[in-house]
Amino acid sequence: MNTVTPSAQAAARKPRYTWRVVDIVVASVIGVAIGVIFWAWSAGYSGIAVLTAAFPPAGGLYAGGWLTAGVLGGLLIRKPGAAIYCEVLAAAVSSLLGTQFGLTVLLSGLIQGLGAELVFLLFLYKKFNLGVSLLAGLGAGLALAIGENILWNVEWATDWKLWYTLFAAISGVVIAGLLPWLAMRGLAKTGALSSFAAGRTADV
């Protein structure tokens, strides 16, 4: 005999936008893991950063890596604020590990996370297919470019700011849009996401 259980009643009351404990902890650890990956990247692959130093706007092409945390968090957790939360936490970890410094890192994380978040919001946290992921990457890339152009590239001639924006947008779509989506698909197949809608539905 099946009976209606108290937990089922409790669940019925909960709106699907509420974060569960597992959402919070996994989102936190995603932010942390991406922060560690940034650290590993800058420890072993700084050569690429040197290349972009010669022509600074090309740094935009490289920037997408920083944006993966927000998009991945949004795709996996599927709750309001997940993209912002993961991106800010990844930024905090990279300053803990000495990859970047200062409160502005958190501000940048907030701006970039917001760029991805707005796209997920636009689809009311209901759609998480490749198109949405690419758009979220684009949103994060544009947010990054706007933020950096105001905060750091402010003295650049307008042309260069536009180039930077273009590069960041491309990088956002390709790196921060595509890679997290591929990661989500791969993760779903490993069974690691069994507590999440992202691991149970194949809405691609």
Partner: protein, 520 residues
């Protein structure tokens, strides 16, 4: 301030746990993880919960702890109650300790960690700290409150986890293989802490554990879950473990029943004959020699073991033993050519070198994988693809770059030998623990290395997967492979034979062979 030793009554009373036709199906799965389970556990009873892997033991403990999730995560059937209440409502009355010591520490400091549960129960500050001191005393963990949780050993971490749930004064302790990841000293340390706690609190105990001997004297009741659902047996340990029908079924399910040694398959099909595994040197041929070797994880960390001298020959087993943190794995990984020696010499004999230039750790990937294979403790660390067949083909095709028909032949033979043929299309990450372990050995064997290095190959295995691993490695040794294992497992070392190298206090001592029979 409250007295340190409070009475049982002050500590919260032992709780009863009742299940009536209880079941749970995870969302998105066809079959229930648990079905039709009924029992009544009286307050203060001490229960050992057994069953084959996949019978739902962990699911049941999680259910009693009230952490299975809401109906988005699965469907509940029947009823389950702690002192008459649904488990979700009685969190805090139940105290759950999990298997992995690393994944259940929340806070950075010991005192804060123990306080965490009491804080979540919204207790007053003074009460929290008095409970923190009392709980740490109960488990005998005598470290300062601001001690870093990362600085604890595995056994200490598990005692900390126990203290952390005790601070909530639970009526039921739920232990999910609490000693599976520990070395033998750690196992006893944790078991004794639990016994002490039960004597002081009188709490109900439900423990899941393959290694029955550890808990057989502690518990007064054994419940066996059937893999097909329901309860297979329920009664006093002596009755359940010795009853003719049940005992066989427990052995079949891979439970380490006291007084039973897992049967090894002695006549394994050997790879040498059909060439699936390449031709290996005649037993006794020297392969690798270490002289005054010092090993270190990173150059900056400095050496952890010094002055290691040993010789490794084809057809030989070498077990590296010693306490946790002594540097066993670091030594093994250095022998495997994955870490740069910090000092001394590590030389490959001509029979192993076969034209590979330079020292072992400088070998190219294709040279390394055809000479030395390393199986890590966590199989998932070595999975590279999304299908079992791709995993098996990766080494021969992409690294060793063998001709396509040779790749096919080897992969087929190895899949057959390690019983992976039916799983070829599955995702490696979704296999069972035993299957993952077999696959990680198989991926290494696919490129036919002369030496196989394994880190804790029998950790957390049930009796069936244990026997399987020992049989497999015995077969490889008979084929002329050299097998180096880092292990705590005395039964394993004895079964495999060969030399034992004990690593402790920065040095390594070669000890008498584990058994006389096998070494050539």
């Amino acid at each position: 301030m409250a007295t340190i030793q409070s009475t049982t009554a002050e500590r919260g009373h032992p709780a009863a746990v009742t299940a009536e036709g209880y079941g749970w199906r995870h969302a998105g799965r066809k079959d229930p993880a648990l079905s039709d389970v009924s029992f009544r556990i009286e307050p203060g009873e001490r229960v050992l919960l057994l069953g084959a892997s996949g019978a739902g033991k962990s699911t049941l403990l999680h259910a009693i702890a009230g952490v299975l999730g809401d109906d988005g995560e699965g469907d509940e059937a029947g009823s389950l109650a702690v002192d008459g209440m649904h488990p979700v409502q009685s969190r805090g009355r139940t105290g759950l300790v999990l298997q992995d010591p690393e994944s259940q520490v929340v806070m950075a400091r010991v005192g804060d960690e123990v306080a965490f549960g009491a804080e979540n129960m919204a207790l007053p500050r003074d009460e929290i700290w008095s409970r923190v001191r009392e709980s740490l005393g109960d488990v005998g963990l005598e470290v300062p409150l601001d001690h870093a949780t990362t600085a604890l050993s595995g056994g200490q971490k598990q005692r900390l986890a126990l203290a952390s749930v005790l601070a909530m004064r639970p009526g039921v302790l739920l232990l999910d293989e609490p000693t599976a990841n520990l070395d033998p000293d750690g196992v006893l340390e944790v078991r004794d802490a639990v016994v002490g706690v039960l004597e002081r609190t009188g709490a109900t105990l439900i423990v899941v554990e393959h290694r029955v001997a550890v808990w057989a004297d502690v518990v007064d009741r054994v419940i066996v879950l059937a893999a097909s659902g329901g309860v297979l047996a329920d009664g006093p340990p002596a009755d359940v473990l010795n009853a003719a029908g049940t005992r066989e079924r427990l052995i079949e399910a891979g439970v380490w029943v006291p007084g039973y040694t897992p049967r090894l398959r002695t006549s394994l099909p050997t790879g040498g004959g059909n060439g699936s595994d390449g031709g290996h040197g005649t037993p006794g041929t020297d392969l690798l020699r270490a002289a005054d070797l010092s090993v270190a994880r990173t150059r900056r960390a400095g050496p952890v073991v010094n002055k290691v001298s040993l010789e490794l020959a084809a057809g030989e087993a070498l077990s590296i033993t010693g306490p946790n943190g002594a540097g066993k794995s670091t030594l093994a990984l250095t022998l495997a050519g994955l870490l740069t020696p910090a000092g001394g010499k590590l030389e490959a004999a001509p029979e192993l070198r076969r034209g590979a230039a330079g020292t072992v750790h400088k070998w190219k990937s294709a040279e390394l994988v055809t000479r030395i294979g390393t199986v890590f403790q966590e199989p998932e660390h070595q999975f590279l693809t999304h299908r079992v067949i791709d995993e098996l083909e990766f080494g021969p095709r992409r690294v060793a770059r063998l001709p396509e028909d040779e790749v096919r032949r080897r992969v087929d033979a190895i899949a057959e030998r390690l019983r992976l043929t039916k799983l070829l299309q599955a995702n490696p990450f979704t296999l069972s623990g035993g299957e993952k372990r077999r696959l990680s050995v198989a991926t290494m064997l696919a490129t036919s290395p002369d030496i196989l290095v394994l880190d804790e190959p029998t950790f957390g295995q049930d009796a069936n997967t244990w026997a399987e691993m020992v049989s497999l490695l015995g077969g490889l040794i008979a084929d002329g492979h050299a097998v180096v294992s880092v292990t705590h497992d005395g039964d394993f070392t004895a079964a495999l034979g060969g030399n034992v190298l004990r690593v402790a206090d920065g040095t390594a001592q070669l000890q008498a062979p584990a058994t006389s029979g096998r070494a050539a």
